[in-house]
Homo-oligomer: 448 residues x 2
């Protein structure tokens, strides 16, 4: 037979089982946290009609898209979960209750140039709240609460959610006489961290911000107390006042929502996508790894699905690039290597060759909720234990002729080496108690 070399495409993450167990634990945290906030799961196809997916049109995305024909259909792989959401809401408008709160965790595809830490197939985990005609600002305050919960449940504490409002920026620009050049001004401001204040100031002056206006803007944007700096401008520009009122409404609810003060701050320099967000915007930084950029972003938009429907559907949402986040956690050593990644809690090891008593014991363990495998290969006992070691299984349930005759099992804790001889029901109870012990070294969803 002619052999083909098996390989996985570059830019496509594929993990060994123990690592996959950690990835799945991350996805479980996301799912559980999103559900805790009352978001409903939806699942849209990975393949859509190209015309539908590209209805919005657009730039970078269109170049990266996987597009192909099948028969006479022009198809494409989804490149995000937002366009499919817009399609879903527009199609099912009459059957949804608004505000419509959905989460979706799924793979998306972008044919980017392959490079370290960049993926062509990756999981996004999105939440959005969609209003019918309007949506109260209180929903915007919920997003940082969800982000905060997600990251803490992932075992991370050193992060900061940066919050801004596009209306504040637009108001400031209008007040400072560059309201017509929002895009160019934002592009300049976006370079603050990279090229420094002086060069940005020069860029802004080139844009017409003379007579100290560039410095006035930069002073406000980088003020230690940005809310104070904004309030000093109260009454000077209605558009700015509106933005500041929104930002105050959002940040005012955060303590009530349980977001600690050290987990967020107003940062007037962030803007996100220029053509999409219209109000609140969020970014999330890992404080010890600023070089990786934002690991969770989102914001408020006026019009989710204008290219599909004449219904006005404002919303607010956020997106986590899970594959990239997992890659970063792994690279930075932030995954908890102590959690149980074994595929089972107990491995039943028959000392002899007849598996009947062993499978009976396994059935009893499973009936009690213990994840159980039986080792049924006819190999030496030493090889059977080596298998348990390789998989890092916490318990061996050893059954030989003596155990069978006495109707018991030998339960061996493979971490401590201690062994007891007990009826199988008691063995199940011991394993389950150990699994539920808060100090258990086994799969725990609370800490990845």
């Amino acid at each position: 037979m002619q052999r083909i070399t098996p390989r996985t495409l570059s830019g496509f993450m594929e993990l060994l089982p123990a690592r996959q167990a950690q990835m799945d634990a991350v996805l479980d945290v996301l799912r559980e946290t999103y559900e805790l906030y009352g978001f409903a799961a939806i699942d849209t196809p990975a393949v859509e009609a190209a015309e539908v997916l590209l209805a919005k049109g657009g730039g970078e995305t269109e170049k990266q898209i996987y597009r192909f024909t099948k028969g006479d259909s022009d198809l494409a792989l989804r490149f995000d979960l937002t366009v499919p959401l817009a399609k879903y809401v527009a199609m099912n408008y009459g059957q949804l209750a608004f505000p419509f709160r959905r989460y979706q965790i799924g793979k998306v595809y972008r044919g980017e140039r392959a490079q370290r830490g960049r993926f062509r197939e990756f999981y996004q985990a999105d939440i959005d709240v969609i209003g019918d005609g309007k949506l109260d600002i209180a929903s915007d305050a919920e997003m940082p609460a969800v982000i905060c919960d997600v990251f803490r449940r992932l075992g991370l504490e050193r992060f900061c959610i940066r919050i801004n409002d596009r209306k504040v920026l637009n108001g400031l620009f209008a007040y400072l006489g560059v309201g017509g050049q929002t895009g160019a001004v934002m592009t300049a401001i976006d370079k603050l961290e990279k090229i420094g204040r002086e060069k940005v100031s020069a860029l802004l002056t080139d844009l017409g911000m003379t007579d100290g206006r560039a410095d006035e803007l930069l002073d406000i944007l980088s003020a230690p107390d940005p809310m104070g700096a904004l309030e000093a401008l109260a009454g000077k520009c209605p558009a700015l006042d509106e933005g500041v009122a929104e930002l105050k409404a959002v940040t005012g609810l955060l303590p009530g929502l349980g977001v600690p003060d050290d987990k967020w701050r107003v940062d007037l320099t962030i803007a996100r996508g220029l053509d999409y967000y219209t109000g609140t915007v969020y970014e999330t930084q890992l404080l010890d790894y600023p070089e990786v950029g934002s690991v969770c972003s989102g914001g408020r938009y006026d019009d989710l699905a204008g290219y599909y429907t004449d219904k006005k559907l404002p919303g607010v949402g956020l997106s986590i690039g899970v594959t990239r986040l997992f890659y970063i956690l792994q690279e930075q050593g932030l995954l908890n290597e102590a959690i149980l990644t074994a595929p089972c809690d107990a491995l039943v090891i028959p000392l002899g060759d007849d598996p009947l008593y062993a499978v009976r014991c396994a059935a009893a363990l499973r009936a009690a909720g213990v994840r159980t495998q039986v080792y049924t290969e006819k190999r030496k006992v030493k090889a059977k234990f080596a298998y348990a070691d390789k998989l890092a299984v916490p318990y061996a349930v050893v059954v030989g002729e003596d155990e069978q005759a006495a109707g018991v099992v030998g339960l061996k804790d493979l971490r401590s080496g201690s062994q007891v001889t007990v009826p199988v029901e008691e063995a199940a109870a011991i394993v389950k108690r150990s699994l539920n012990d808060p100090a258990r070294p086994v799969k725990e969803k609370e800490r990845i």
Copy 2:
């Protein structure tokens, strides 16, 4: 703006949120049951190099495949989870512990002619046990146990797992002198249910089964006690003896594995894929809906990955076409419509316009593990309750000025209409008790 009509491709399942909750409950049952048996999750890309995916070559599949180029890469969407498993095991051979037990639940793609109940994108849920060089027959016995557990946890009792062994068929054919025409004989036998015994007998006679051999074969295949019929032939053909010994080993372990006698039977007429399976084979019928065919099939194969590696990797596995199964359950009214499909357990309803006390209460409910949403739109109280009704939320947590002043909430059971005024922590406890009540009408994973 020019509008595009939003649509979802034909043959691609997309569900409304309440239905999606039921689908997700089915996927949860599969995941939990597979994990209970000690299978490890893997997740392979949906896109692979076409050369790798089509290494085995092949007929129907190749016509149905979604294949396309991106840059100079010849790519394809996976059409099953078995080829990606073969790739994975061949690639990672040195890093896996054998027997390697993996499960994978994921979407696969087949560009079939669209028809009712046929899907082009659908979930498969596979388990396989892969041996290194050899794999004991005991693993074959585990498959019916897993199937049985899955279907019972899905709330189904009226099903039957049909078990056969390809070696028994091959032995029978050799014994009856048509060993060289296995394929043609199997094709004829496969028509038994469709065209009846007489016509199949004529087909077999055409294949050279004269002198009553066609009838002898059909008598054995349709014997009320197939194992008895086979044992009457003991010693007459070594190949047959080997097959019968396997079938006895598999069926002999089923009671010990907890598979009730009425959930399985030996059926010598099933064969599954002719070029792939080499030993035990399984099919699963829903007894009241025989017309839908097998809803869970699988079997033993000698060589998982011969087109990738010279390692001999025998295995046994099964596959459930989850999207089709869900479609059938839905069509036949077999989904439990009483389970909670609401996106939250409690909806906090502020009677006034200030959401601060409401979001505080929501944070407390979430901290206690109650899935909670706050209704923060500024609408009439009646509209707020109508929203809860539309989503079928079981509890409303009503907070007005009086409740805030007294530090309590009004907890209303929206199913019974009863209401109590209690501190929020007690409200959380009541909701949680109700969720954990075995008689609870809320999301229960045990019964879809």
